[in-house]
């Protein structure tokens, strides 16, 4: 099976989706500029400006237009270049995309995908954020944040085919992650977690880029004979906790690793569900590893102390096992 990057996996899914005439891509600098992260590079040349639509810098308009087009039968894929800019489109997402199906009694669907990306690398406070929890808080949205090239391709395809609005969260530091991906078209169902690594001593529940960091932490701990089991949630809404809870019943201890602020963050929801459904299997308090609770500093040294690192995950696991 070919080994390709996350970027290439996403490109394959998008090319595949573009076979459907209803699908079009809309966003800032996706065409003429050549795509900020290279995902849609060459698409303008291949599919033309009608279906690869460079837009003004107007996030609310971009997402609103995608919603309106979806309502009348199109399958738009809107790209918000960086999740930090999505705040300008939250009214569209929350008050329209998420509600149109239920608020109008189920007669109108909004089959659109919003692709956006988390990430940081000395971009300072306004360009190094994660709003996963905001998206995932909202009934009516589906929220996906895969980790591997295989899931990126299969879940983006599934998201585009889904009749509901899907927020598809990528990560700037993950586009070069490689993995095996079949050449043919396939989908990976939304709302299904997966076991990313088997182990008997402790469960790490995580998603997106943190899956890879957790794997590295597990490799380090394996040298000491500690077997870490890793659950990749893949979808945040609806949140499939079945795999995590099964694992937790086996290991009785868990660490939740998410790349966002801890207070009221995604890790709070994940830990709460472990407590709710795993209480009688709990052998130690559940630990969490997250961003430190500050706006991201620019200074490299401070930034590295703020983000989640392999060392911090290793430390949290050891502490939870003590």
């Amino acid at each position: 099976m070919p080994v390709i990057t996350v970027r290439e996996a996403l490109r394959q899914a998008l090319h595949d989706a573009m076979q459907d005439e209803r699908v079009f891509i809309i966003g800032e600098d996706i065409g003429h500029y050549g795509s900020t992260y290279g995902v849609t590079a060459g698409f303008l040349e291949q599919y033309g400006p009608e279906r690869v639509r460079d837009t003004p810098i107007a996030e609310s308009g971009i997402v609103g237009i995608a919603i309106g087009a979806a309502m009348v039968g199109m399958r738009p894929i809107a790209e918000i270049m960086s999740v930090n800019f999505s705040l300008l489109a939250f009214d569209m997402l929350f008050n329209h995309a998420a509600k149109i199906y239920s608020m109008f009694g189920g007669q109108i669907t909004v089959p659109m995908v919003l692709r956006t990306t988390n990430g940081w690398t000395q971009l300072s406070a306004t360009h190094s954020q994660s709003f996963d929890v905001y998206f995932a808080h909202m009934p009516g949205l589906k929220v996906v944040a895969p980790a591997t090239p295989y899931d990126m391709k299969g879940m983006l395809k599934a998201a585009i085919e889904d009749p509901d609005p899907v927020v598809f969260i990528e990560h700037t530091l993950m586009y070069t992650v490689k993995g095996e991906v079949p050449e043919e078209s396939y989908t990976v169902p939304l709302g299904k977690a997966r076991l990313a690594r088997e182990g008997r001593d402790i469960t790490v529940v995580t998603y997106s880029r943190m899956v890879h960091l957790s794997q590295q932490a597990a490799d380090i701990l394996a040298r000491d004979g500690i077997e870490v089991e890793i659950v990749d949630l893949r979808t945040l809404r609806p949140l499939d906790m079945s795999v995590a809870i099964e694992s937790f019943k086996k290991t009785n201890r868990a660490v939740v690793v998410t790349e966002d602020w801890q207070s009221f963050g995604t890790s709070a929801e994940i830990a709460a569900r472990l407590y709710e459904y795993g209480f009688d299997y709990l052998d130690a308090p559940i630990a969490r590893v997250n961003f430190r609770e500050v706006p991201m500093p620019y200074s490299k040294n401070l930034e590295l102390q703020t983000v989640v690192t392999v060392d911090r995950i290793v430390h949290a696991i050891r502490k939870t096992l003590s």
Binding site: N252, D280, Y281, L282, D283, A284
Partner: protein, 455 residues
């Protein structure tokens, strides 16, 4: 005749006040015409008529309030449009009242054993301890701050030989077993037969199981049978309230003494010989009489504590605890200081009979200054009782046991009829030494029982 009702002028309006009527009775009102000004908690606003006609009656006067939809005025000769009848009641009230009712009785929340609850243990360790009948106090915790974790339970089990020590009579079956926890069956293999798996545990246990106390199954775990909740009778509620009051507010001290009842039994046999059954004297009567005499010398124990001071009661009114099928009752033998032994015996019999027949009246239960409680007839050697507020002391009378004992100061062993009395006293009123002296006086009176006849 259409009614004009208090209009809802905002999504959150529940009532309004008539500020001013713009029409008076007899005025012609046209549809759409303002008829009154009303004030809500937010605004003052004109309201308009939805029907045309003549205003015949103002129901809610200026300055008065009415809930939404209440009739505020009446019109005569409307235009005949068939408006639906106004809603009967204010909607906000009915909606909340229609919320799904709670079930009549809720299962009681299982309370963890008070002492075990203070132990640091993980939820998993607690559950395993429940299932294997392990007293967590016996397990050493290896986790942070000494927390007992799963490994500690496993270590304890293997040290103990695997099998549950005492069959967990009411323990739940080990439903969804944790994957890595030792399955109960493997533990049972090394245990002596019959394999005491909790599932097939024999019941009932004739004596109290030492540890653990039976704990109701946690929610979500299969239970052999549903527990039932018996509603509290008024008597149980009263007992509950008063015992809690006493136990929480009265610092109890307990002092016991052993009494040789040989002479008393002899005297009783002589006194009862030839007496009609209804006049016979019981050991309890003799104890009551002894107390009545002794209390005259120890007024602190025939007293009531309050923050203002200690009330010393002028009479000795002894409450006799009587066990009934439905609970407990303590009719009061008043003026024991003036009563002969026979009088105490007759009065006690009368009161006990009334209580058992359910004919006791409240006045016969009031005014007690001291209580005597007796479980001797059940063979209980000794016990303690809880003081009945606002009394200062309560005497618990055990069974008379025929016991080998040394005769006086010699080495000769003889059979003695010994009885243990335990006094519960309110430590705010009295102290241990005083209680000891009082008990010695009671003991003296019972061991030299002629005093009971003359006192």
């Amino acid at each position: 005749m259409p009614d004009i009702t208090m209009p809802k002028m905002g999504f959150d309006m529940q009532e309004g006040t008539i500020v001013r009527w713009l029409k008076k009775p007899g005025d012609i009102v046209r549809r759409g015409e303002p008829i009154a000004e009303i004030e809500t908690d937010k605004v003052t606003i004109e309201i308009e008529a939805f029907e045309s006609g003549v205003l015949t009656e103002i129901v809610v006067q200026e300055g008065q309030s009415a809930p939404v939809n209440a009739v505020i005025a009446r019109l005569n000769g409307g235009n005949g449009s068939q408006a639906p009848a106004p809603v009967a009641a204010a909607p906000t009230v009915s909606t909340s009242a229609e919320a799904s009712p709670l079930p009549a009785s809720l299962p009681e929340t299982p309370a963890p054993p008070a002492d075990v609850g203070d132990i640091r243990a993980s939820p998993l360790a607690r559950r395993l301890a429940r299932e294997y009948g392990i007293d967590l106090r016996q397990v050493r915790g290896s986790g942070p701050a000494g927390r007992i974790v799963k490994e500690d339970i496993e270590a304890y089990l293997s040290a103990r030989g695997g099998a549950p020590a005492s069959t967990p009579v009411s323990a739940p079956p080990p439903a969804p077993t944790p994957v890595s926890a030792p399955p109960p069956t493997s533990a049972a293999v090394s245990a002596p037969s019959p394999a005491p798996t909790p599932v097939s545990a024999p019941s009932p246990a004739p004596v109290a199981v030492s540890v653990p106390p039976p704990v109701p199954a946690p929610v979500g775990v299969a239970q052999p049978a549903a527990s039932t909740v018996v509603p509290l009778s008024n008597m149980r509620k009263t007992i509950s309230r008063r015992m809690i009051q006493s136990w929480q507010q009265f610092p109890h001290i307990f002092v016991s003494i052993e009494v040789d009842m040989g002479a008393a039994l002899t005297l009783r046999a002589q006194a009862n010989a030839g007496r009609p059954r209804e006049d016979q004297i019981s050991v309890n009567d003799m104890v009551v009489k002894a107390c009545a005499i002794a209390l005259l010398a120890f007024p602190n124990l025939n007293a009531s504590y309050s923050d203002e001071g200690i009330t010393l009661h002028p009479t000795v009114n002894i409450a006799i605890a009587v066990a009934l099928e439905s609970g407990l009752m303590a009719p009061v033998v008043v003026n024991c200081q003036d009563r002969s032994l026979g009088s105490i015996a007759r009065e006690t019999k009368r009161l006990v009979a009334l209580a058992r027949e359910g004919k006791i009246t409240p006045d016969l239960l009031q005014g007690g200054t001291f209580t005597v409680s007796n479980l001797g007839m059940y063979g209980i050697p000794e016990f303690t009782s809880i003081i009945t507020p606002p009394q200062a002391a309560s005497l618990a009378v055990g069974a008379i046991r025929r016991t080998p004992a040394f005769k006086d100061d010699s080495d000769e062993v003889v059979a003695k009829h010994l009885m243990i009395l335990t006094l519960s006293a309110d430590h705010r009123v009295t102290d241990g030494a005083e209680v000891a002296r009082f008990l010695n006086e009671v003991k003296r009176l019972l061991e030299q029982p002629l005093a009971l006849l003359v006192g």
